[in-house]
Amino acid sequence: QTKQGERKQYVGFATLPNQVHRKSVKKGFDFTLMVAGESGMGKSTLVNSLFLTDLYKDRKLLNAEERINQTVEIIKHTVDIEEKGVKLKLTIVDTPGFGDAVNNNECWKPITDYIDQQFEQYFRDESGLNRKNIQDNRVHCCLYFIPPFGHGLRPVDVEFMKALHEKVNIIPLIAKADCLTPNEIKKLKDRIREEIDKFGIKVYQFPECDSDEDEEFKQLDKELKECTPFAVIGSNTVVEARGQRVRGRLYPWGIVEGMHTRIFHVCSALFMENQSHCDFVKLRNMLIRSHMHDLKDVTCDVHYENYRAQCIQEMTSKLAQDNRMESPIPILPLSTPDVDTEKLIKMKDEELKRMQEMLNKMQQQMHDKEQ
């Protein structure tokens, strides 16, 4: 910790990051990931591949007629995983049934309701008196699977993303990308990016690089941003290729090496490009290794704050209509409606003061006259 020659100058608060590190490891982390998209897009497979585990044992797949009037369900799976002493409580929120019915009007409503409900719960907990053990169930990220078979975004895709883009971080993915050649992938990505702009959809933006990062990192960051939306392939099968066991998909025409990885550095958020046939590794690195915390921060600082502000405004506008009220949740009074009331009160106060002064003066005068 002490450097030679600077020994006298060293105070020691440079250890603060280490202290923070130590405490965070002790406390553990949590993360909630939502996956959305039609059945058969490879959502479950992708989640298993991302976390190298099997979350979906024994699940039941519905057949077509069972899905005609399918309503969207919300299913949560929570697991505790640990790696190198770091504990993570991971929650995957599944949305089976989305887009499966014949009439999919507002099929995203249960999803938005769910997200809102988590916000509301957190808001209530945060406003309570005893805040020792608040559980954070807010959704930090939503992976949205776009089918690769079309020419870009479909109406349901647009509507879904527009309904959610101000409630959760959306990361759009092109699912099952192994049916597209590299050119087709590029065309589709460009098309989707265009349409996202056109429809004003706000997907999750990677934060800008610090200006003092090195060039290599900046270059990688740039490439990452130009690669969105990620085209992914998921696989639960491990195949042997070139003497290594990799996760991949086996076709008569060769192996798509989906999960083959090379070297990774952890702490400094530097990751080497690898020989992948899809963007799976980019997605994993971004989602887990470098931006997981940022996804949480954006959820807390932006989406949740927006929800909270909206909530309070609705409540206070009701209060304002009632004109004299107490709120069930501790909030400060809205400045706009109360400004008038306050002004009124101030005016009345001043009037009273003036009258009092006049009274005093008159009393004084009479007192003087007496004398």
């Binding site: 976390f51 979350l55 369900e73 919300i74 505790d80 008159m362």
Partner: protein
């Protein structure tokens, strides 16, 4: 607020399973991600130094942070205690620290120290209040809010060698539920080793027996539990501060030079400075911040909200919608407010009546006085009128007499005039009547034409004529 239809979604909340991973996923970088974010944001830390004037607070801060924070010596003659916060931006390698040092100026100087603790408690509460206000705002930005809450209170105990002072006990008792306290023995170079040992024991036992809760270095994290536990046993830290350097051996170290030796600040056998620095800055700074936020601030917040009338929700109760709570509270408070409004209105009406009655009384009084004054004035006027009448009568009488005298003088023989002429020079009176003075006066008046405009003037003229008359007893010359 959305009322959720529970059939629409089901939470298949399987018991949390511990799964084993099939490879390296990579979320072990989460602590690093968190750290990198907090380094970018910068840290802030706020220290409150409580202790008598001159006990070494500023010097210790300078020594701890190796910086000469500008401060002049404080005076002993402050009227009361006041708190002086100063903020500094420090940096070490890539870590930026916004340090605020709050000094208690005038502490311990007053003759009556009963209220000395109040400004300190108020200051701490104000910082909590500011944070609470920010937290309750609609548009809030807690992540770049400059946190001014006090993270640590260093309480400076005077090195008497005996025990705590009464002021120390009282103050610490008031502060222990609001802030992390680390008691330190200041200017410890005046105490010998054996005295120090006894002193520490006495202080700690007094604190314990009076239920003062000082900050305990945390022992729940295995990485640091050992060192923290051993340091807890050394409290209170006996410190010596110095920014001057003395050459010891071939090094220049921070020390205090006495004729009988050199007290080295960073020598652990001389004082506990190094222990304090280690605990306060290098090991537990983050824990102090956390405790302030999670314990002291939460306590303040809970009390404040309870004061404002919010009750805690029963943990077993059904999750009710905010809508219903709102309606219930609404009814309750509407009733309350109406009642209060009535009370106030009644009070106001009464007050107005009172004041009106008072005013009426005063008016009546005034009126009476006025009448009285009027009467007096009338009386005076009458008196003056009477006098005037009297004076006029006199004047008339006088004029009559004057007329009579005139006719009298006109009927006198001439030779009297000649006699008069023979006698003297300045003789204005040609009537030559010798007689009583009044007659002379009248004669004089007869000759002199009266130029006066008013009877008042006339009287005056006569008077001055009389005055000017050169007359000797026996007659006029």
């Amino acid at each position: 607020f959305h009322a959720l239809e529970c059939e629409r979604f089901s939470i298949c909340n399987e018991e949390k399973r511990n799964l084993s991973l099939g490879g390296h996923v990579g979320f072990d970088s989460l602590p690093e991600q968190l750290v990198s974010k907090s380094v970018t944001q910068g840290f802030c830390f706020n220290i409150l130094c409580v202790g008598e004037t001159g006990i070494g607070k500023s010097t210790l801060m300078n020594t701890l942070f190796n910086t000469m924070f500008e401060n002049e010596e404080a005076s002993h003659y402050q009227n009361g205690v006041y708190l002086r916060p100063r903020t500094y931006d420090l940096q070490e390698t890539n870590v930026r620290l916004k340090l605020t040092i709050v000094d208690t100026v005038g502490f311990g100087d007053q003759i009556n120290k009963e209220d000395s603790y109040k400004p300190i408690v108020d200051y701490i509460d104000t910082q909590f209040e500011n944070y609470l206000q920010e937290e309750l705002k609609i548009k809030r930005s807690l992540f770049n809010y400059h946190d001014t809450r006090i993270h640590i209170c260093l309480y400076f105990i005077a090195p008497t060698g005996h025990s705590l002072k009464s002021l120390d006990l009282v103050t610490m008792k008031k502060l222990d539920s609001k802030v992390n306290i680390i008691p330190i023995i200041a200017k410890a170079d005046t105490i010998s080793k054996s005295e120090l040992h006894k002193f520490k024991i006495k202080i700690m036992s007094e604190l314990v027996s009076n239920g003062v809760q000082i900050y305990q270095f945390p022992t729940d994290d295995e990485t640091v539990s050992e060192i923290n536990a051993s340091m807890n046993a050394h409290l209170p830290f006996a410190v010596v501060g110095s920014v001057e350097e003395v050459k010891v051996g071939n090094k220049a170290v921070r020390a205090r030079q006495y004729p009988w030796g050199v007290v080295q600040v960073e020598n652990e056998s001389h004082c506990d400075f190094v222990k304090l620095r280690e605990m306060l800055i290098r090991v537990n700074m983050e824990d102090l911040r956390e405790q302030t936020h999670a314990r002291h601030y939460e306590l303040y917040r809970r009390c404040k909200l309870e004061e404002m009338g919010f009750k805690d929700t029963d943990p077993d109760s059904e999750p009710f919608s905010l809508q219903e709570t709102y309606e219930a509270k609404r009814k309750e408070f509407l009733g309350d407010l109406q009642r209060k409004e009535e009370e106030m209105r009644q009070m106001f009406v009464n007050k107005v009546k009172e004041t009106e009655a008072e005013l009426k009384d005063k008016e009546r009084e005034l009126h009476e006085k006025f009448e009285q004054l009027k009467r007096m004035h009338q009386e005076e006027k009458k008196k003056v009128e009477d006098k005037r009448g009297y004076l006029e009568e006199e004047m008339n009488a006088f004029n009559k007499r004057k007329a009579a005298a005139e006719t009298l003088s006109l009927s006198q023989p001439v030779k009297k005039d000649k006699d008069k002429k023979n006698r003297s020079v300045n003789m204005e009176n040609q009537s030559g009547v010798s007689a009583s003075s009044s007659k002379v006066m009248m004669a004089k008046a007869n000759v002199e034409p009266l130029n006066c405009q008013s009877w008042w003037q006339a009287i005056q003229c006569c008077t001055c004529l009389v005055h000017n008359a050169t007359w000797r007893p026996g007659g006029l010359f």
